[in-house]
């Protein structure tokens, strides 16, 4: 076995182990030298990124990869922890590590004035660990453990600005919501284990009967993960948390939020994929019913997200509501893909939806970084207190324009590519849904025109002009530049990303038999 083959074989475990180890070492290094701590944290994330890249190249060329923690020759495979990494898992891991890398670069300047950075880096690396764990694991209980770690670390990070009462309140709300969600997830896993004596996703999927209890488990898992992903009307924790946390923290939490969305995909496509496509309810195939339920939630999410964003005057909170609406677009695509299972446009919808996960991370991430840069320079959150920033923050203005056009789905940026696929496929299921989605996208553009006009154009407000405004520091500009460049690149070469990453990910979701067969036949 060559060193590279050994590295590929061990990479699923290393991807989680490296940031986990780094999280605790960072705190120690921070006691010696703060700059060394920052460099070390960045190095750990880069190293994890390299491991993800190595594993991704293997998974995308050779298919899913298994990693077994525990005895190799155990006769009962379901009691061990198995990581199963397919194209969908690795796609999500790539998104998580991009968000993490940019967040740490941005933090260098943004957080340098604040205390408690040892704790920040430790918690951020732990959150990255848990998010990657949720994405790579093939075990339900292990998923719960990583979800719990992500809840606790997210809560602590949301309260970063602990002297602000609202940050503490947002963290408390997040803790309550997460604890309730985690409790229901644990209850569902307990029910699964009681019935099937198994915790492995593939093993469970192969024996699932879709009994009365299985239906309860399905609803509990989907609703809890939807709440964690920010689906309306269970979204209210999201603007509270995103509106009060530092932007670099938001990026890392966004990774965890998207991992919850990935959890929904895993549950309905992999765990319940087989039974939902073969059972009936109200004389309808179950997948059609579940698909339309997701579509209904998606439409409400898009409309409420956009309408609420329109009346926000707090810059961060406004973006948070747009982030809610963007989750709606992804859910709309997934719902369409599930409701129209087996048709060509269902696959197109899933292509659009999965590509939109990446685009959402880049575009919403970019807008949060811009909002953070504005806060860094002006110390103001309210749009009414801002004005004329384009004169002094030229680069930030360009990044805002790229972000707002991308998130509103304007060509030739990345948001258009995914929304184009979503609109086209949703239209074939029901034209009214596509019209609602397009109208909400237009409204989204109007929202950011408001931001651009109020904060960046016009006269400089007295309140800000007196402080002697400057452009954001270089590390923050680099972080924004990475997202902006990625948004342009995906917009210009959508097919490259689609063929390389998105189509294999969707194929892994649709062919759940391969995922199940890998464990059942492979261990």
């Amino acid at each position: 076995m060559t060193p590279l083959e050994f590295l590929i074989e061990q990479s699923p475990a290393l991807i989680v182990a490296v940031p986990l180890l780094g999280a605790f070492l960072t705190s120690l290094i921070g006691r010696v030298n703060e700059k060394a701590r920052n460099i070390f944290a960045l190095f750990i994330v880069c190293l994890t990124g390299v491991l993800i890249a190595i594993l991704a190249s293997d998974v995308l060329t050779s298919g899913p990869r298994l990693y077994v923690f525990g005895a190799q020759n155990l006769q009962v495979p379901m009691v061990r922890i198995i990581f199963e990494v397919d194209s969908m898992s690795i796609f999500m891991a790539i998104i998580t590590i991009i968000l993490a890398l940019v967040a740490l670069v941005y933090s260098w300047s943004f957080l340098k004035e604040y205390d408690g950075l040892d704790k920040f880096y430790t918690l951020a690396l732990l959150l990255i660990t848990s998010t990657l764990g949720m994405e790579l694991t093939g075990d339900m209980f292990n998923f719960f453990v990583f979800l719990e770690i992500s809840c606790i670390t997210s809560c602590a990070l949301i309260a970063f600005w602990i002297t602000e009462g609202e940050a503490l309140e947002a963290a408390f709300k997040y803790l309550v919501i997460s604890s309730i969600g985690a409790l229901f997830i644990l209850f569902s896993i307990g029910l699964l284990y009681a019935q099937y004596n198994a915790l492995n996703i593939a093993t469970l999927a192969s024996v699932l009967q879709f009994s009365f209890v299985d239906k309860i488990i399905l609803v509990l898992l989907v609703v809890v993960l939807a709440m964690k992903a920010g689906v309306v009307p269970m979204h209210m924790w999201l603007p509270d948390s995103y509106g009060r946390a530092p932007p670099s923290v938001i990026l890392v939490i966004m990774g965890a939020t998207l991992a919850s969305f990935y959890g929904i995909l895993r549950v309905i496509f992999t765990l319940y994929g087989e039974v939902l496509t073969t059972t009936m309810r109200f004389n309808l195939p179950m997948h059609v019913l579940v698909g339309w339920l997701l579509i209904a939630l998606a439409v409400v999410t898009i409309i409420v997200g956009v309408l609420m964003a329109l009346i926000q005057s707090d810059f961060m909170r406004l973006i948070a509501y747009v982030a809610v609406a963007e989750i709606g677009y992804m859910l709309l695509a997934v719902g369409t893909g599930f409701a129209a299972w087996g048709t060509a446009y269902a696959t197109t919808a899933l292509h659009g939806g999965v590509l939109h996960i990446l685009n959402d991370a880049l575009d919403i991430g970019l807008l949060f970084l811009v909002a953070g840069a504005v806060y860094y320079v002006t110390k103001k959150r309210l749009l009414d207190d801002l004005g004329g920033l384009a004169r002094t923050m030229k680069y930030t203005t360009v990044f805002l324009l790229i972000g707002l056009l991308a998130v509103a789905g304007m060509p030739p940026l990345n948001g258009f590519a995914s929304k184009f696929l979503i609109y086209e496929s949703v239209y074939q299921l029901n034209p009214i849904l596509a019209i609602v989605a397009i109208l909400c996208s237009i409204l989204m553009l109007a929202i950011f025109v408001k931001v651009f006009y109020a904060a960046f154009l016009g006269p400089q407000r007295n309140i800000t002009a007196s402080t002697g405004l400057k452009e954001a520091p270089r590390s923050m500009l680099i972080a924004m530049g990475v997202f902006a460049a990625a948004a342009i690149f995906i917009g210009l070469f959508p097919n490259y990303v689609l063929d390389t990453l998105v189509k294999p990910a969707v194929s892994a979701l649709l062919n759940h038999a391969d995922y199940i067969g890998m464990v059942i036949g492979g261990v």
Partner: protein, 111 residues
């Protein structure tokens, strides 16, 4: 690499870029047929407000919270409903979670 096929539609950002570039060229060409009467540094630069003294730029700019007043005012009923839904009370957040749970239980066939 550039094109995107949706099964029923087609998108090519490079083609789109070329068309936009040609459209801008045409517009620039059409602009050349107009008369150039604008003179910098003259009273043409000041805004015309009939009968009223000119306000300062700070006073003239519409604030963000007032920008879409017409839209939000015409949809007052909807916004009142949305605002009352967003109470900020964590108990209500949990209540919405329970409501969605109950709806899905009914539709999926648990209840």
């Amino acid at each position: 690499m550039f094109g995107l096929e949706s099964g029923s539609g087609f998108w090519n950002p490079v083609l789109w870029g070329c068309i936009i570039f040609i459209a801008f060229l045409l517009l620039y060409g059409i602009r050349g047929f107009g008369r150039s009467t604008y003179k910098k540094g003259t009273e043409q630069e000041s805004s015309f407000l009939s009968g009223n003294p000119e306000s300062t730029p700070e006073e003239m700019q519409v604030k963000a919270s007032n920008l879409y007043w017409g839209f939000t005012s015409s949809m007052k009923t909807l916004y009142n409903g949305l605002r009352s839904m967003h109470t900020g009370d964590v108990g209500d957040y949990v209540l919405w979670f329970i409501i969605i749970l109950a709806i899905l239980f009914v539709v999926i066939g648990v209840m």
